[in-house]
């Protein structure tokens, strides 16, 4: 037996059967990432291992939360030039090439996440074994950071599972559960955790043949004609969600894949060149910024011991089984909570159960997990859950009197340390809590619709809300895997308040004679996920009007006549199939492309976007959120504000504050006081 060098980030040992066990354990970090330090040590370790001529090599993680989360994104910020980036990527590629070329069998043992560079490392091993735990997920999500895989992943995943599946994973950036990864051919064995090591040792001893692509998949992936045809399809698919000038990475990935059919080594060089270009682009820099905004919100759950029991994290009681209440209940169940769902009579709860079933069947493919989800959601028309709940979430009609009557009735029944949370979107907490004996326990937990899709949740604190309640509410939001945004109670909180002037401006533009299609196009050209007219229709024009009226009164904004007319004419939007657009049977808007006479002008977009920026300034001045970063985070994750810009304030910085202010002043002159720059400018 040989003694190995000591490494800071890797543990090395050799067993009696001369099999080397290499465990990644990044120093001073809770999660393994492939920082340059970790990579340099891997290089040295591999050389040392090779020299001992072992029977085989097993690579696993010494951390219980997962395998490897990918590259060290923090290091991206240090990359200044294309050449510097290229050099680092080539270095990393070289290390994984050496891993792949080892003359003995190598196996990755994967338990927990294995994404980005982590998966690329696993792909460079001869075999992969993964646990069937639902935490074990794999993927190459680099596009979400404005780049694509750079450590040989584009070449090796394509080689392993074929171009169609590989490109689908890389272009979408989604991760898949181990079960799905096995189906796709990414791993050799799917095992319970207790067999992980045994399976790895067996693979080294047996050295089974490596998985091969079926001839059909190989045909589709490995000749220039099929790649040419498929690449066209991929571009079409990508264009539906991302424009090339805003999100160049997926397009670069498709080019790379299309152009390198025959030589693996050429493809690696091209991969490095492509990523080096991408990683220094503004888009990537902004998306990295958004990534860290997300990390910052994820780190907000500070009540370490609150709701940590994995088997039974807590009891949530939701009052109001409408779309929001029902979906909040179902989402909490998906995240492991036991939920009682109350409304005035059973018939009001039943539809929410039907919707929950749809969500559960999508989320849980294994029968016993699905059954367990059903068993955690209890319709509760008698409100028996109130006494048992750790958090009571109120999601009833936006009427202060009705809400207060409810609070008064339930307050004496709450557990001593229970939190009372409201999903109100417009009523201030101070007003609501005035009826409570203990107003400190009321906090806003404001979800966005549709809940399974919208990651952001505003955690609203009123003047009376006690810090412990806020901390717990934030922690709860993390426990249900949403992103908490702490905001101060004021009309519309952050997201709706900033969104409303933008929607109202869109209506003004409509009144001025622009077609709905043109206005929407201007917004989506800017990078919004959905045009404002479509958005208003989707939210419901009656709801828009009601929120606009409440906000308008307090913020002295006039509500366009047009919006009131629409509601009077019972044109309520998507829900009754007629709003600004008409809707087909499936609920899709019937748009007339001919209504867009010419490409919308920059002025059109500016009028809408500048109202967002102006309102953002006002919110910062009033301290609705703590800082510009959280404001950007709120707008990106709460409204989908063009992520490649890094959020409204980041966009403003790029665009230039002075120039933007001048533009605002010009607009004020031509269109009136609604463009009056906020004093904060």
């Amino acid at each position: 037996m040989s003694e190995f060098t000591y490494y800071k980030n890797w543990q090395l040992m050799v067993d009696e059967e001369n099999i080397v066990h290499l465990s990644i354990d990044k120093l001073d970090a809770s999660t393994n990432v492939l920082s340059s330090d970790v990579m340099r040590e891997l290089d040295l370790a591999l050389a040392e291992i090779k020299a001992t001529q072992p029977r085989g090599l097993l690579i696993d993680s010494a951390k219980s939360n997962g395998f490897i989360a990918g590259a060290d994104v923090a290091e991206f910020k240090q990359i200044k030039t294309r050449d510097q980036a290229f050099e680092f990527i080539r270095y990393g590629q070289g290390i994984l090439d050496k891993l792949e070329a080892l003359p003995f069998p190598t196996v990755s043992l994967i338990d927990g996440f294995c994404v980005g560079g982590g998966l690329e490392l696993a792909l460079a091993c001869r075999y992969r074994v993964a646990t069937e735990d639902s935490r074990t997920r794999m993927g190459l999500p680099e596009v979400k950071l404005g780049i694509h895989p750079g450590f040989g992943g584009t070449m090796r995943l394509n080689r392993l599972i074929g171009g169609i599946a590989a490109m689908d994973l890389m272009l979408s950036g989604r991760t898949v559960q181990a079960r799905k990864a096995k189906k796709l051919g990414m791993i050799d064995h799917l095992v319970p955790k207790r067999h992980l090591l045994t399976a790895g040792l067996n693979m080294i001893k047996d050295q089974p043949e490596q998985q091969k692509l079926s001839s059909l998949k190989a045909l589709a992936s490995n000749n220039s004609i099929s790649r040419l045809m498929l690449a066209r399809q991929f571009r079409k698919q990508v264009a539906k969600h991302a424009k090339q000038n805003q999100y160049p990475a997926p397009y670069a990935l498709i080019d790379l894949w299309q152009n390198h059919v025959s030589s693996d080594s050429d493809m690696l060089t091209a991969e490095a060149e492509s990523v080096a270009e991408l990683v220094i682009s503004d888009t990537s820099k902004n998306l990295v910024k958004v990534f860290f905004l997300q990390e910052r919100m994820k780190a907000l759950g500070i009540e370490k011991d609150y709701m940590t029991n994995k088997k039974n994290p807590g009891h949530i009681h939701v009052i109001g089984a409408g779309v929001m209440g029902g979906d909040i209940a179902a989402w909490c169940v998906v995240q492991g909570f036991t939920v009682t769902l109350q409304d005035q009579k059973p018939e009001l709860i039943a539809p929410a159960l039907k919707r929950a079933k749809k969500l559960f069947t999508r989320k849980f493919k294994q029968k016993h997990l699905l059954m367990s989800a059903f068993d955690r959601l209890h319709p509760d028309h008698n409100g028996l859950g109130i006494e048992k709940a750790d958090i009571v979430i109120e999601a009833i009609v936006e009427d202060i009197d009705i809400k207060q009557d409810l609070y008064k009735a339930i307050e004496p029944r709450l557990k001593a340390d229970a939190i009372l949370a409201t999903n109100t979107s417009s009523i201030e907490l101070e007003a609501l809590s005035s009826c409570l004996k203990n107003p400190q326990r009321l906090v806003g937990i404001h979800f966005f619709n549709p809940i399974p899709k919208m990651q952001l949740v505003e955690v609203v604190s009123g003047e009376n809300t006690e810090q412990k309640t806020i901390d717990r509410a934030i922690t709860f939001v993390r426990r249900i895997d949403r992103l908490p945004l702490p905001v101060k109670s004021s009309p519309g909180f952050l997201v709706n308040r900033i969104l409303m002037p933008y929607l109202l401006e869109a209506v003004e533009l409509l009144v001025e004679g622009n077609s709905a299609e043109t206005i929407d196009q201007a917004a989506t050209d800017f990078g919004m996920p959905m045009g404002p007219i479509t958005l208003a229709d989707t939210v419901g024009l009656d709801i828009c009007l009601s929120v606009a009226t409440i906000l308008g009164e307090k913020m002295h904004i006039s509500v366009p006549e047009k919006l009131q007319q629409m509601v009077k004419q019972n044109r309520l939007g998507k829900k009754n199939r007629k709003g600004f657009y008409d809707y087909d049977d499936k609920g899709n808007p019937i748009k007339t492309p001919g209504n867009i006479k010419e490409r919308p002008t920059a002025l059109l977009a500016d009028r809408m976007v500048l109202r967002i920026l102006n309102e953002s300034m006002a919110c910062l001045r009033e301290g609705i959120v703590e800082d510009t970063e959280l404001l950007d985070a709120g707008m990106v994750f709460g409204t989908g504000f063009a992520p490649f810009t890094g959020g409204p304030m980041n966009y403003l910085n790029h665009r230039g504050r002075e120039a933007t202010l001048q533009r605002l002043k010009d607009l004020e002159e031509t269109h009136g006081s609604r463009f009056k720059p906020d004093p904060a400018w």
């Binding site: 036991t338 009682t340 059973p346 018939e347 709860i349 039943a350 539809p351 159960l353 039907k354 929950a356 079933k357 059954m371 059903f374 068993d375 209890h378 319709p379 509760d380 028309h381 008698n382 028996l384 859950g385 048992k388």
Partner: protein, 430 residues
Amino acid sequence: MKKMSGHSVFVVDGSRSPYLKSTSPKHAMLASELAIKSAYPLLARQPFSPEELDEVILGCTMAGPDEANIARVVSLRLGCGKNVPAWTVQRNCGSGMQALDSAARNIASGRADLIMAGGAESMSHGPLLFPPNMTDWLGNLAKAKTPQAKAKILASFKPANLKPIIGLLRGLTDPTVGLNMGHTAEILADKFTISRQEMDEFAVASHQKLLAAHEAGRLSEIETIYDWEGHVYHHDEGARADSSVGRLAKLKPVFDKKFGMVTPGNSSQITDGAAWLMLASESAVKKHQLNVMGRITDCEWAGNEPREMGLGPVHASTPLLQRNKLNLDSIDFIELNEAFAAQVIGCCRAWASDDYCKTELGLKSAFGEVDPSKLNVDGGAISVGHPVGSSGARIVLHLLHTLEQRNATSGLATLCIGGGQGGAMLVERS
């Protein structure tokens, strides 16, 4: 059997599902689902946690393939925790009452303080079985190694192999005498000269009593339950406001098809449902300050002639009442499960008959008359339905509610059991 002795057994609460008309297995709920949905509110309103139960006992005769020891499946899914033991009992139509008796005895003996016991059945999910020929054929096919051998087995297939065995029908047939339960009712009709008119009148009354109870709000034992398709179930589905002797007269006999009198109209309805009671010792009542509905004071099981299984209640109830110094007059209310109108009427006739009581019960003369105004006051299985394993628990639960609603003190719940048995339970409210 001897009188139950030991600690007092208190019933502190109970609940049941609405009894739902049997439908296709695709749409009907499983016995476990009915049990869970009706038990959840019962557990949720207790001041103690489900994990504090000493055990869960459930009666069920036809648990499904995913419901082996259905009591344990239900207990775990209800959140009673992995440390609460649970077991399933089977005594055909007496299963639900058997669960209560088993629970009561464990509390009386001091072995337990808190037990949730009841019965559940989904008649809709009665099994459909392959006949033995088909099972053999499938087994041989699986064993065949070569393609030739496989082909040979495939060729030996006979269409008759596909004729399924309907588990529900077989389950309701006594293999020792070769009679379906309906036939045993026909035998009683003949033995006690019960007319078709009498049976149909009895059935109509059952519907009317159930509807009146519903109107008057006497069925508070029912918990509204939900499915996952957006439906809500509030009430028993068997009740028919339009039932009349004229209408029932048009129905054809189903067992003795040509000359018989037992029709679907004067038999219990095939339904799905579950019922639960919460049983507690005196110390549990004090510890958790539980509200007492009444006490289970004694229980009796008796065997009788399988061909006359419907008279089981007479055989079980008579010694039970006698050893407790009670009789048909002194008891306040009686729930006698309505398996068949002929069978309930038969029981009353048997009790009133010198001849039957002398020869079968060893009495000197007739045991007595049953006052119709104290029998099944809010209807019975003919209108409510009869999910076999559940009914025994339902009649005890409803009897306790009846005693409370009518401010009475003593009640008898009794039922006949396929195979020739009777079960009877005494409850008391102070």
